[in-house]
Symmetry: C2
Subunit: 270 residues, 2 copies
């Protein structure tokens, strides 16, 4: 048993998809969420910048003495997990390994689609992980740089013509390749899952990286007897930009009000 | 005569539209450009964050002892110019005043369209400036939060279906209102000018805020006898993210190679 909190971070709002799943499967845990809304997006930036920001995000979360950290950000998971793991003596869970495992288990055609930010796709991290699990799986990868701005601007509802057009443009070659699983390699993308699912068709399994990562973290903590025991865990939210703007959009993401619990942090100090 | 350089900054690439104009009309000046590519975009962020970033941008440029600073960023000009001007004892030129002047001069129908980032539109700065010049001018304003990601991702070429659809969605109510001038209240937007112009029609005057601001700064420096005298000025580029990515896109913006002259700066230290 370990009563300490679990830290979760993302470049912005996307990581809330992982947080929501963590709260569902581990309701007794205390969670600390940090969204780097003052510097979002990460996925269009260079690796050096991503690594610097990720180190600060982890340093901030460590001030709460967490028992583990969930990197609920595809870009950081793909570009900085090796360094973060080497530099910190606590379990750090990224989305790449869990998503690769889920993709390999899901595919029958041995053709897997992969979408993510420019930085994630450029890293090749998902392909390496999938090749390590099953070299016969072919990965058709595509960077989707406009998805994060669409989601961060609330443009993820089914019927949004711009979102539909962008989905069609990015995913047409992946659909044409005959994949039967598609890794949503950025935790923002599940918000677009209905639009993506309608375009890809019912036979393509969409892998929600935030959710599979949350599941994997929960299992790992359980195996090490590091889960908490209490009736109901708490959740605190921290952001690096305006708390008001975050509270509004986060409420839409989570389906519940978060107005009271958001605090601002000067992340550049960490 | 003043041989010192002119500093120019923006959240990212957009300010290059002002820089290009400055180089055209003041070829003898030394210019220092800073693009905060590590924290772009500014326009979706809160005022407090914008002000903090803008102060750091100015502090960095001041290390070069500039004779003036051009705020080639609509978001900073609309949200932080008062503070920057009060805190610094050198001429600081923003885009709002120059653009408002140009709009009032351009309109016959007394109906002016205004587009900008969410933070710029929320500030009301352009409307205040225009009302101060001519209270009979009606301003039809609209935030266009997807324009910056489109431009920063290179999606500004005529024929880009996504850009066309977004332009249509944002501008339809402004066109319907019968404006005859449209303030492109963000220095990224001139890159979309052809697409915007085609949608608005030939009778609508597009006001390029970067260009009018450059013109205004040049006139003001000339009036104070602060222009330089040399054969050909230099231009140095600084960014807070990868220099390579910037050099590639900046070359497209400027129509000339900038590979050699880009340096990285740790802007959070200022």
């Amino acid at each position: 048993m370990d009563q300490r909190p679990i830290g979760v971070f993302d470049s912005g709002l996307g990581g809330l998809t992982a947080l929501k799943e963590l709260r569902r499967i581990l309701p007794e845990e205390d969670l600390i969420y940090f969204g780097d809304t003052g510097r979002v997006p990460y996925g269009t930036k260079g690796r050096e910048t991503i690594l610097r920001y990720a180190r600060q995000d982890v340093a901030f979360l460590r001030t709460f003495d967490p028992k583990a950290i969930v990197v609920a950000c595809g870009t950081v998971s793909a570009n900085a997990l090796t360094e973060l793991t080497a530099e910190n003596d606590l379990p750090i869970f990224g989305v790449v390994e869990a998503a690769a495992q889920a993709a390999v288990e899901a595919t029958q055609t041995k053709k897997v689609g992969l979408i993510g930010t420019s930085a994630s796709i450029r890293s090749g991290a998902y392909e390496r992980e999938i090749a390590g699990l099953d070299p016969s799986v072919e990965v058709i990868a595509r960077a989707c740089p406009l998805f994060v701005p669409l989601v961060e601007n609330g443009r993820f509802r089914p019927g949004d013509r711009v979102a539909e057009l962008v989905v069609e443009e990015y995913l047409a070659p992946i659909r044409a390749a005959g994949v039967d699983a598609l890794v949503l390699g950025c935790t923002h993308y599940p918000l677009l899952a209905r639009t993506i699912g309608e375009f890809m068709g019912p036979d393509v399994n969409l892998i929600d990286t935030g959710a599979v990562c949350a599941g994997r973290a929960a299992r790992a903590l359980g195996e090490k007897d590091l889960l908490a025991r209490r009736e109901k865990g708490s959740c605190r939210y921290f952001v690096s930009d305006s708390t008001q703007d975050f509270a509004h959009l986060a409420s839409i993401f989570l389906g519940e009000t978060v107005e009271d619990g958001v605090e601002r942090v000067e992340i550049w100090r960490y």
